[in-house]
């Protein structure tokens, strides 16, 4: 299988008045066609900046890719002109954002917003574009889509708005979709519907998805492989079942143990095994392993040198001195 997307040693820094934030600092991720990769991590770990780097949508003048490469279908995205990247955005790589109300334009009808994406990339007339929009809305579960295309975003609930976002993202049948916390703002039953929908569409259309989330439960449902990010780095990468049954990195273990259990009795007396401390500020440069000050199993070397990437098996890798 050839790779669809290769992110190689990517470093994206944000140049802010307060200092340089090393938001993404040496990330390697490979996505194969039709595959769902989960990216999990807490706020500030760099998972959103990673997606924006791939889309080349970094905040202008602040965000800059300083190292590494992003190769999509054999072509580096970093050297493309603005026009060339615009050709890829939307038609080949699309993105779904966390908050559908702010990502949709409140003064345009949803049908027009979906059709705008079509007109940007395809030479079709309005009637054809409208038919495509109606068809896509019905695929994402809209009843009466031929009427609903005339709705404005404020007429829809949060779940329906997110369906519109997904319809927009998939209307041109891209081969890769980046989904940044697409269900975080939704109620749990609506989240379950959207996850079901994304799984269906993914298997029918064969779209590869990079699914970014802070929620281990969600990633477990949707992803095949999971990258765990901490402080701008991928600290563990594994098939989803392996990650939960045999996590290697102390941070992954900590995250899993921090999540309240879904089963069991007498939970009232139980305490969670927590990770002490806070997520580090990315302005300071940390010597050694970035997790060392919160790690329960830290060794002397962890404070000195950055741990190397180790392959436990061909599909399972970890960045930790413990396994050297």
């Amino acid at each position: 299988m050839t790779e669809l997307l290769i992110v190689r040693d990517l470093a994206t820094h944000l140049f802010t008045p307060q200092g340089i934030i090393r938001a993404v600092d040496g990330v390697d991720i490979t996505v194969h066609p039709g595959e769902v990769i989960g990216v999990v991590g807490e706020s500030g770990c760099g998972k959103t900046i990673l997606a924006l780097s791939i889309m080349r949508l970094l905040p202008q003048g602040i965000g800059k890719i300083v190292r590494g490469d992003i190769v999509f279908e054999g072509r580096s995205l970093l050297n493309l002109s603005d026009d060339e990247i615009r050709q890829i955005r939307g038609s080949k790589i699309s993105m779904v954002f966390q908050e559908p109300m702010t990502a949709l334009n409140p003064v345009f009808r949803i049908g027009d917003q979906i059709m705008e994406a079509i007109f940007a990339h395809q030479d079709v007339d309005r009637r054809e574009a409208r038919e495509m929009a109606v068809e896509m809305l019905s695929r994402v579960g809209f009843p009466n889509p031929h009427k609903r295309i005339y709705d404005y975003p404020h007429q829809l609930s949060g779940g329906m708005r997110q369906r519109v976002m997904i319809a927009m993202a998939l209307i041109l049948k891209p081969c890769l979709m980046l989904a940044d916390e697409p269900t975080t703002a939704l109620d749990v039953t609506i989240q379950a519907q959207i996850l079901d929908l994304m799984k269906d569409l993914q298997s029918n259309l064969g779209t590869a998805i990079v699914f970014i989330t802070h929620d281990l439960g969600v990633v477990r449902v949707i992803a095949k492989h999971v990258a765990v990010m901490y402080a701008g780095e991928v600290v563990e990468l594994a098939p989803v079942e392996d990650l939960f049954s045999q996590p290697y990195h102390p941070y992954t273990v900590g995250l899993i143990e921090s999540t309240p259990p879904a089963e069991g009795a007498f939970l009232k007396e139980k305490r969670l095994n927590t990770i002490p401390g806070n997520v580090p500020s990315m302005i300071m440069q940390i010597k050694g392993c970035r997790f060392h000050d919160r790690c329960r199993e830290g060794m002397a070397i962890c404070t000195e040198d950055k741990p190397p990437w180790l392959e436990i098996s061909p599909s399972h890798g970890v960045r930790c001195w413990k396994y050297v």
Binding site: E42, S43, G141, P143, L156, S157, G159, M160, D187, V188, T189, I190, Q191, A192, Q193, L195, D196, H214, D215, L216, G217, V218, R220, V221, G254, L255, E257, S258, T259, P260, P261, A262, E263, A265, F266, L267, K268, K270, R271, L272, N273, T274, I275, P276, N278, V279
Partner: protein, 331 residues
């Protein structure tokens, strides 16, 4: 009302009784200023016992926060009463109200917006001591230092401002502010939902430690089913202003009766779904404008019968301390 207890608690007197509590908000819609009403809370009856944690779970708009606000009297009910230790709190004024507010405290969801950005942590924590005048002036500093260490912060945080704190640290301050007046009941409204997973776990543990240390009673409001289960003795499931089901947390998760509870549990990522409860709901809207004559869950329910359309099912006890508001499940 008397049935609101549970058999295991029958020998105890409830610390708090909420009886037929209803809150109707009037909202103005559109440019013409058309008025409409929202029944945020619709006849909720529940009892809370000393030392227990009562979880309240539901999706946005189910009325769980309104319930919390009415209990701490941040808002006045449209109908119904709240009794604290047998006394109706809705007529409290002046000193009595102050005394009530000392005994019942609230922890908010968003610690960033519920802390005064212009006050240091020390000032924020001293303020309730001054207002309630419960600690001698020269002992206040000591009390603040003591409380701050109890929530797991070191003493030098007293001089910091909220913007200098992380989300987890701010929530610790929010908890300290509630704790410092030595309350009996704490209403925690989504106290961990804005926090990262690793920080959320720290705060949940802290809340449990404090509960055991001071024999606190919690009303723990959350949308997160796993978090509520981890914290609570009993859980009330709310939907559109009503309690759909009330049971011990073990019973609720092992033997959910109400179709809505089953839908919620099936929606937990990774939960095993019984085929007939596979979220059979395609649409999540279009129901909001319907008049509420029948069961509020009628439109989304896949077990509904004719009776469900006609009247609202009462909350009845179907098993020991297990209450459900459903015609199909309680018959």
């Amino acid at each position: 009302m008397g049935s609101g207890a549970g058999s295991m608690c029958e020998t105890m007197n409830p610390i708090l009784v909420v009886d037929s509590l209803t809150k109707v908000y009037t909202v103005t819609r559109g440019v013409m200023g058309r008025k409409s009403t929202i029944r945020a809370l619709d006849g909720v009856t529940i009892e809370v016992f000393k030392g227990e944690t009562l979880g309240v779970v539901g999706e946005s708009g189910c009325g769980k926060s309104t319930l919390g606000r009415l209990i701490v009297r941040l808002d006045e009910p449209t109908a119904g009463i709240v009794l604290f230790r047998g006394k109706n709190i809705s007529h409290l004024r002046g000193e009595d109200l102050m005394a009530y507010r000392r005994r019942v405290q609230l922890v908010f969801q968003d610690p960033a917006s519920s802390l005064n950005p212009k006050k240091t942590v020390g000032q924020t924590l001293t303020e309730p001591l001054i207002i309630h005048n419960i600690v001698d002036r020269n002992l206040r500093r000591e009390r603040v230092a003591e409380t701050i260490s109890q929530v797991g912060l070191s003493g030098d945080y007293i001089h910091r401002y909220p913007h200098e704190l992380s989300g987890g640290q701010r929530q610790r301050v929010g908890i300290a502010r509630a704790l410092i007046v030595a309350p009996e009941l704490i209403v925690a409204d989504e106290p961990v939902s804005s926090l990262d997973v690793s920080i959320q776990a720290q705060i949940l543990n802290l809340l449990k430690d404090l509960r055991d240390l001071y024999n606190l009673t919690y009303i723990f409001i959350s949308h997160d089913l796993n978090v509520v289960r981890f914290m609570s003795d009993r859980i009330a499931v709310m939907y559109r202003g009503r309690i759909m089901e009330l049971a011990s947390s073990y019973e609720l998760y092992e033997n959910p009766l109400h179709p809505y509870t089953r839908t919620l549990l099936a929606a937990i990522p990774g939960a095993k779904r019984h085929s007939q409860h596979s979220l059979g709901l395609k649409m999540d809207e279009d129901f909001y404008e319907e008049a509420l004559k029948g069961c509020p869950f009628y439109f989304r329910c896949n077990e509904k019968e004719n009776a469900c359309k006609e009247g609202c099912p009462p909350l009845v006890e179907t098993g020991p301390a297990h209450f459900v508001s459903c015609f199909v499940r309680s018959s």
